[in-house]
């Protein structure tokens, strides 16, 4: 069966774009076999034509003129692999307006402007695919949108930022400081020159936002997600957690609680007998809890040229087959009647790990536990590591105090935390981390 080729434009020939172009041009037979028709890279749009590139394309394919794609009615599908919000947004809208289906790996764009882009695409009768936007090598969009279609997803627990996970693994396994581990991540190419969006939780929050919208039909702005990063974590917390049998991960979490949806991205203690605690290095992992299937989980590389290009190419093949168009029509995206509303942060519930620096003198433990108890916070574990005995000095020693609480509301915790800060015997800052169920 010989069918017309799918003519494709790749807009943005950076790391991922080059990977996609390589797969498509170096494996034409494989593409025909998988897609049932040839996939032809008609144009590759770049900003700077003269830049040296790691791929040789036939004459006439490389161009710096997006309009040559927009105006060509024979180009059916375009990949937006420019990244960032502008001009990526304008490029995607122009491509859709010109009748192209669009494949994108742009999580920031979809998280911030997904509603507008998807609504416009549907109005135009076009399709947008975005498997590569969340957890590159893990087919999580297909899992949620298709394989788990019989389920209402009840919870998501995920490691969605490989850079942070690499840093945390180095801190745990090689006892490195945060700064040294970050430097190592940059040296290995896992972290950008400016790693802020990775380590402060923004990148993971954008991906969680997309996953949450797909899974719960609830519009999520990242500003509504309770986000904290790994950039204030200390080696000492990594080690205390390890001593308690936990590993700290930057956990993206979504949980249905009645008709409320709790969303957070934060460093979280995960018990070592949970699979997520065992995911070390620059990997992603996602645990989905479906009301029919139970727990299903996925792990793989979340970023990098080839894993991301693999996901983009799978989307292109889906477009060539015609399957993507059917899927997109049916996806529960940005719907108008959400089944769940976002829970106010103060009402979300979790177990917590607290590390306080307290003066080593009588009644401190009573004062601290009293403040927690007043807010209904019950204690699961209290550890005051033994400090060296001192006698008769005038200097009061400061010692750590580690507390693991039972489940409590974020509101109660914040109120207790404020009172603890007022205690003369408690030094700033308090370290407060969530503990996963």
């Amino acid at each position: 069966m010989s069918r017309d080729p799918l003519n494709l434009a790749i807009v943005g020939l950076g790391n991922v774009g080059t990977g996609v172009a390589k797969i498509l041009t170096q494996q034409p037979e494989r593409m025909i076999q998988r897609a049932g028709r040839p996939i032809h890279v008609a144009k590759a749009v770049v900003r700077t034509l003269s830049k040296p590139r790691d791929i040789a394309l036939p004459a006439g394919v490389l161009t710096d003129d997006l309009q040559s794609v927009i105006r060509d009615p024979n180009i059916h599908v375009a990949c937006e692999l420019v990244g960032g919000i502008h001009p990526a947004k304008e490029i995607v809208l122009d491509l859709l307006a010109a009748g192209k289906d669009v494949v994108t790996a742009n999580k920031a764009l979809l998280c911030q402007h997904g509603e507008e882009i998807f609504n416009f695409a549907r109005k135009q009768g076009r399709t947008v695919c975005f498997e590569a936007a969340v957890a590159g090598g893990i087919p999580i969009i297909a899992a949620v949108g298709q394989s788990m279609a019989a389920n209402q997803i009840l919870a998501i627990q995920a490691i969605l930022n490989g850079t942070s996970n690499f840093i945390l693994s180095e801190m745990l396994l090689k006892h490195q400081t945060y700064a040294a581990a970050l430097q190592q991540a940059q040296a290995l190419g896992y972290a950008e020159a400016d790693p802020a969006l990775d380590v402060n939780g923004t990148d993971a929050a954008q991906k969680l936002g997309i996953l949450a919208q797909l899974s719960f039909g609830t519009k999520v702005n990242t500003s509504q997600i309770h986000v904290s990063g790994i950039d204030t974590l200390q080696q000492t917390d990594i080690q205390y957690a390890a001593g308690l049998g936990y590993t700290i991960k930057l956990l993206a979490s979504a949980r249905v609680n009645g008709d409320k949806l709790e969303l957070s991205v934060r460093p979280t203690l995960i018990h070592n007998d949970k699979p997520l605690a065992q995911i070390h290095g620059p990997f992603n992992a996602i645990l989905l809890d479906g009301d029919v299937v139970g727990n299903v989980w996925y792990s793989g590389r979340g970023a990098g040229q080839l894993p991301t290009a693999s996901a983009v190419t799978a989307d292109i093949i889906d477009m060539a087959i015609g399957r993507a168009q059917l899927t997109f029509r049916q996806l529960d995206l940005w719907c108008d009647t959400p089944r769940f509303t976002l829970a106010p942060e103060a009402e979300t519930r979790s177990r917590y790990y607290l590390r306080l620096s307290v003066e080593d003198r009588p009644h401190v433990m009573a004062d601290v536990t009293d403040r927690l108890g007043r807010h209904g916070i019950s204690l699961a574990t209290v550890i005051q590591p033994e400090a060296p005995e001192t006698e008769g000095g005038t200097q009061t020693q400061v010692v750590p105090l580690i507390i693991m609480t039972h489940r409590t509301s974020r509101g109660s915790l914040l109120a207790a935390e404020a009172e603890l800060s007022q205690l003369a015997s408690v030094r700033q800052p308090l370290m407060v981390l969530a503990v996963a169920d």
Copy 2:
């Protein structure tokens, strides 16, 4: 958008069939939302109408007459959930001949008669979906057939039989004997009254056969897979492996080696730093190595009413959307020009664990290692656990000798094993287990 309902027949209302009927009849709104149209259970075909059932269906739905489905042109899709080879095969062929698309969870049927069934379906212009046939709750058919479409899969390592995995976990973690662990699996409903197909590797081999055909386009008969089960494993091997840092799993493995494909299902030592070693209890896990994406892995419940019903229902929704039809047309199933041929067993290569019972007397170690060395088998680890000192007794003591080899061919190993068996100082039987890379 209101579309015609999809009229469905469920053939076989056992555990899984009842689960599917429950989801479809108890969640009609969810089905409309996911499929874009109602899914209507028109008929449920059973053998015995009078049997008490865990589900109430509207009058006229329950029937013992398959012909009422065959003859009804308004029934578009039928689920074969009868299991076994006969009459399941005849039922599926009759349904296809009558113009129905078919969803099946029947791994034994597809493994043995898949070629005939799929060819007939394609000839009839019909579709067969079988996500539930392999690793129920894990969407592995979609992963291989769709999400990894940019890749040539290079290797599969999988735990595909939950019953065996439960038994191995009990033996490792609770130090139970094989017999006691099996009894426990039966008491919990994980193992059938006759658990032979689970524990002797047949069930896993059927699933590996289907996965291998999908991933490599190579026709596989289970008789061509090197299969051994967990039923001869001893507690002592579980513990020696643990001491060496390994966990024994019933591993289904496929590996591309040049243009050859190596397939096996056998108890295998997996190093504890590999995720598969950490999968305990009645779960399945699958590691796929794609040439573009690298390693991606999946875990979840491989069997049970709801996980399997979740997969069947996802297939039904795919049919209702029209996506399954496109996928089936494109799947690389039982193709005529396979890219790989099966490697003869003697040529397959692996590391091995050997446990010998040897007489505790001079030159035994030299004899044993000489036989291995003659066949080019090089040793990675040799452990002879210390035996209590005896003096002057006439009875020669028998002691265990544990050897881990470097990679060698199965042929060399079998030849060395035959020679070892001839040694007067080596008692029968030798325990030989593969060690995963």
